[in-house]
């Protein structure tokens, strides 16, 4: 059971550890700011339920899900010669023994299933980005008030430099990471990794479904 799901379990564990680590490091930084601005430090429980923690989490989540959404959807139309991340042709819709039930039926269920990965990534991206905007408004307003400045409304915040700074600083790093993976995987290899072409594959070989 554990061995058969090792990949998922590994990332679940490191995700929880990293999130816990972020909560303690974030609490330290938050309390430093509080003391520096004449306020009082808060407990770990108060911090992890605060808008400041939620916005920091959500801004990273939305960018990760956007990255996968784009990766999944853009690779339908655009190709990169030589990259194993690019498709080389063929839809792969052929039904065979063991195909999921919704792949064997037609109509709406087939259409939904055939696009379900992109749909779930897309919906999660939108929800995370919305959560970032709501929590960001609250965190920004708390900081505004602590600096004796007026709070803003949600539309004002969504148009503010703070919202777009948080958003774009995450997006640019995700786009660079995808670019690096697409381009470097043309010429570089990682033995036995399904994310890499086989070591002996020609540089020109594109996709994994040849």
């Amino acid at each position: 059971m554990i061995r058969r799901n090792g990949l998922s379990l590994f990332f679940l564990v490191v995700f929880v550890l990293a999130l816990a680590g972020q909560s303690f490091a974030g609490l330290g930084a938050y309390n430093d700011d509080q003391l520096g601005s004449g306020g009082y430090p808060v407990s770990w429980g108060a911090y992890v339920t605060s808008a400041d923690f939620v916005v920091d989490v959500a801004e990273n989540w939305q960018s990760e899900y956007l990255q996968f959404l784009l990766f999944i959807v853009i690779t339908v139309w655009l190709v990169q010669r030589g990259s194993p991340e690019s498709r080389s042709g063929g839809k792969g819709d052929e039904v065979r023994p063991g195909s999921p039930r919704w792949a064997r039926v037609g109509g709406l269920r087939n259409m939904l299933f055939a696009n379900s990965l992109g749909l779930v990534m897309g919906v999660t991206f939108v929800l995370s980005w919305y959560a970032q905007s709501v929590a960001g408004t609250a965190a920004y307003n708390r900081e505004q008030l602590s600096q004796l400045q007026d709070p803003v409304t949600w539309p004002e915040y969504v148009a503010s430099p703070d919202f777009w700074d948080r958003t774009l600083q995450n997006w640019q790093s995700e786009f660079l990471a995808v670019l690096s993976m697409v381009a470097l995987s043309i010429y570089l290899r990682q033995r036995e990794s399904p994310e890499s072409k086989p070591v002996g594959a020609p540089h020109e070989e594109t996709g994994t479904d040849t």
């Binding site: 306020g39 009082y40 808060v42 609250a138 708390r142 008030l145 600096q147 004796l148």
Partner: protein, 116 residues
């Protein structure tokens, strides 16, 4: 002074507690109880006033009044009065005044008679 309020750590719905804390602060000022008013300031705000706080807080020209608008965001709050804007911060023993006698300065921070 025994004026601290047992305010919960909940971020939402702090409006009445904020109004009550500000009301007690301005009531103390109006009654000439400088020490009681100073006890309702954040430590930083109290330190920002010339010593002794109990005297200088009464000379700051602060006037209270009915709350026209309350904004509470996490551990910070802003209370608009007819002739004043007040900023409060929630500490372990409840809401305390961090800015009073504040006038707007456009996009810049309010200019306050008491702030910290």
């Amino acid at each position: 002074m025994g004026l601290a309020l047992p305010v919960s750590a909940c971020a939402a719905g702090g409006g009445p507690a904020v109004e009550e804390a500000a009301g007690r602060f301005f009531a103390a000022v109006a009654a000439g109880q400088g020490a009681a008013a100073c006890a309702l300031l954040t430590d930083a705000a109290a330190r920002s006033l010339p010593e002794p706080c109990a005297t200088s807080i009464l000379d700051a020209g602060l006037r209270g009044g009915p709350a026209e608008e309350v904004a509470v965001w996490g551990s910070e709050a802003q209370l608009r009065l007819p002739e004043d804007t007040v900023f409060l911060h929630r500490g372990p023993d409840g809401w305390r005044v961090r800015g009073a006698g504040c006038r707007p300065q456009g996009d810049r921070p309010y200019d306050c008679e008491v702030s910290g």
